[in-house]
């Protein structure tokens, strides 16, 4: 097969896939009797034109950066981690335990403690599927899916039976103490008396997610471990001959993946709800798959894809608020993006490759 230039592979293919997904999304919107152009305008309006909209968009972006990076790190080792959802839920348990039972004097310390706990809990939840895949050959896709459901039950049990304060009806933990509350964008960036970012949940965790991007870039492309992970993903047998232990790489890659997914809960649990609630992940674990696919498993790509999905999430919420279109439209759009950028990737790639091949032939002739 012919080779495509790098820019075509990294930008043109995802862009065309994205346009296809957008086209079919427009058809879906038409199908339920709404105007796609109006819907799009409303989404842009609600997600990008006001500072509060940006505050929500960046809040969702933060979640998707973490889960996208989580999926990507596993992907580099050719492991398909569908368990981001469960790992984030259990990460949230870590955050809650640390924030409820340790008296943090200041949020700067609390965020370090919470991040560590979230990463540890998330990694621990990913460890079992990783170990079973490496040692017993059970399929990681199925086990991580099962662990999503088990995590949901564990969380339900903890919230109903253990962490719920007496006399409270809804399944949620007590609120975290005042000292742990993270500064949000309004407190950080709005000048005195300004309404900028008011009421929006974006908070300091966004910068933590940017740090995570840098961390993953360094890890995957600048360290020996990253090299091992990539070579393992490229060819397991070759890596084995080169002396890399498959068990070690599988477990380590999944631990990092689970830790990143778990850290998403710093944003949702500590940054937003400020207590542990039942459904704080809101499918972000699955969106991470789309984000990683679109971002071609590279932190910069993931950052951009996460922004796009953050925009979709906030725009969709806005649509649901002002029109009859339910929020689920966003799930449909996300599914279409996964379909076209992931499963139907070759549908775009194969004709493009042929096109580039015919061009290069002409040049040579």
């Amino acid at each position: 097969m012919g080779k495509m230039p790098l820019w075509a592979d990294a930008i043109l293919v995802p862009l065309i896939s994205l346009l296809l997904a957008a086209f079919f999304s427009a058809i879906v919107i038409l199908g339920i009797g709404e105007n796609p152009v109006e819907a799009f305008n409303l989404m842009v309006d609600g997600a990008l034109k006001r500072s509060a909209g940006w505050g929500y968009t960046l809040y969702y972006t933060t979640n998707y950066i973490f889960t996208g990076l989580a999926v990507a790190v596993a992907f580099h080792a050719r492991l398909f981690n569908i368990g981001g959802e469960g790992q984030a839920m259990i990460g949230g348990v870590g955050v809650a335990l640390v924030c409820l039972y340790i008296p943090w004097p200041h949020w700067t310390l609390a965020i370090i403690g919470a991040s560590t706990a979230a990463a540890l809990f998330g990694a621990a939840w990913a460890f079992i599927p990783a170990y079973l895949q490496a040692k017993r050959g059970s399929h990681i896709v199925i086990t991580t899916i099962m662990f999503n459901y088990i995590a949901f039950s564990v969380l339900g049990y903890l919230l109903v039976e253990v962490l719920r304060p007496t006399g409270q009806m809804d399944p949620a933990s007590a609120s975290f103490p005042e000292a742990t509350h993270l500064p949000n964008f309004h407190e950080m960036f709005a000048p005195e008396g300004s309404r900028m970012f008011r009421g929006a949940p974006a908070n300091v965790t966004f910068f933590l997610s940017l740090l995570a991007c840098v961390f993953v870039w360094v890890l995957i492309w600048k360290t020996r471990l990253g090299y091992d992970i990539r070579s393992f993903g490229f060819s397991e047998t070759a890596a084995k001959y080169a002396g890399t232990s498959p068990v070690r790489i599988t477990v380590i890659a999944m631990l990092i993946s689970g830790a990143l997914a778990g850290m998403m809960s710093v944003n949702t649990t500590l940054g937003e709800s400020e207590r542990l609630i039942l459904n704080s992940t809101e499918g972000a674990g699955f969106v991470g798959i789309a984000v990683a696919l679109m971002g071609r498993n590279h932190p910069i790509g993931i950052l951009m894809a996460a922004l796009l999905f953050g925009f979709l999430a906030q725009g969709g919420a806005e649509l649901a608020l002002w029109t009859d279109i339910p929020r689920e439209l966003i799930v449909v759009i996300q599914a279409l993006v996964i379909l076209f950028t992931g499963a139907l990737d070759n549908m775009v790639r194969m004709p493009l490759e042929r096109l580039f091949l015919s061009f290069s032939r002409k040049e040579n002739a």
Partner: protein, 321 residues
């Protein structure tokens, strides 16, 4: 637990096992042909919605059933195009189908019925009616056998009996027909089937479409048999439990039946007893709900015997030139 309670639990086990069994057999055809399908959940959900919606509009359960099968087969076709024609990643395709179904069902339900993403409740004609087997009333007075016959065996809808009949049928198709032989071969070594002059692509598409049809029946049973209408996310992980049962059964039809009945029993117990006390220790309902999933992990880990999937599963077939 007295005898009647036991019978009632077993009765609801059977009811709850039926959608699992149909989806499990659906997965069996697909995966035996080398196409992994984690989209069982989404197909069932789409079918449940289509069945609920069309049964509500037309007032006929059969129209609903056909609509359900149709909806599920369209998604199957999509999976086939992605994973067979364009050699895409079957797992990613499955994830996309699950999300697509989860979103589309609510979206369309809201557009058509404006009831917050559900279909109207089905009246009698829109639902699958129970079939009373002959002599059910007559035998009732006989101890043990009578109640067993009239409670447990009789009084289910047609789909239940069809689902159970599909177990021996599937066994026969897989192991006693030429089609079955080729189907199994294409999941183990597609090149050999290709060499024999049989189209790998056609065989795999056939398998995927059979899978879609069976998932369609499973979904239709959920919305018109088990419950009266479609509600948001009503499959509630059944597609994944069916997948688990398939692995538990090591991709064999008779074992699939027992695995699905076991998972059905677990679900029935979780529904009936919110918390169970065994020897002074209260088992929380969440553990009961998670039990099928935990069991699957244990089985997958090979502690209850090794499950070896079809060898060519998950890999697109590229004809060598």
């Amino acid at each position: 637990m007295d005898f009647l309670t036991l019978l009632q639990v077993l009765d609801s086990s059977v009811r709850l096992a039926v959608p699992l069994l149909l989806a499990c057999l659906a997965g069996l055809y697909s995966e035996r042909a080398g196409i992994f399908d984690i989209g069982l959940e989404g197909k069932m959900l789409a079918a449940a919605f289509a069945a609920g919606a069309f049964a509500a509009v037309s007032g006929s359960v059969w129209v609903g059933l056909i609509a359900g099968i149709g909806a599920s087969m369209i998604l199957s076709l999509l999976h086939g195009v992605a994973s067979i024609t364009f050699r895409g990643n079957q797992l990613i395709s499955g994830v996309a189908i699950n999300m697509l179904a989860a979103g589309m069902t609510v979206l369309i339900a809201q557009d058509w019925f404006q009831q917050g993403g559900r279909t109207p409740s089905l009246l009698t004609e829109g639902r699958m009616s129970p079939i009373n087997l002959p002599f059910a009333d007559m035998f009732e007075s006989i101890p043990l056998f009578g109640p067993t016959y009239s409670e447990l065996i009789s009084g289910h809808s047609l789909i239940v009996y069809v689902a159970f009949a599909f177990v021996p049928l599937t066994w026969w198709i897989l192991y006693r027909t030429r089609f079955g032989l080729r189907l199994r071969a294409v999941g183990e070594n597609p090149a050999s089937v290709d060499t024999a002059g049989v189209s790998v692509i056609r065989l795999r598409f056939t398998a995927v479409l059979i899978c879609g049809a069976l998932c369609g029946v499973a979904g239709a049973y959920l919305a018109t048999g088990l419950q009266a209408g479609f509600i948001k996310d009503m499959t509630a992980g059944r597609g994944f439990i069916a997948l688990a049962a398939l692995i538990f059964a090591k991709w064999r039809p008779w074992y699939a039946l027992w695995a699905c009945l076991l998972f059905g029993l677990l679900q029935a117990l979780a529904v009936r007893f919110q918390s169970i006390e065994i020897g002074g220790v209260v088992i929380p309902v969440q553990l009961m709900e998670a039990l099928p999933f935990i069991l699957t992990v244990v089985i997958l880990a090979g502690f209850v015997g090794r499950a070896i999937p079809p060898r060519a599963g998950g890999e697109p077939y590229v004809k060598e030139r």
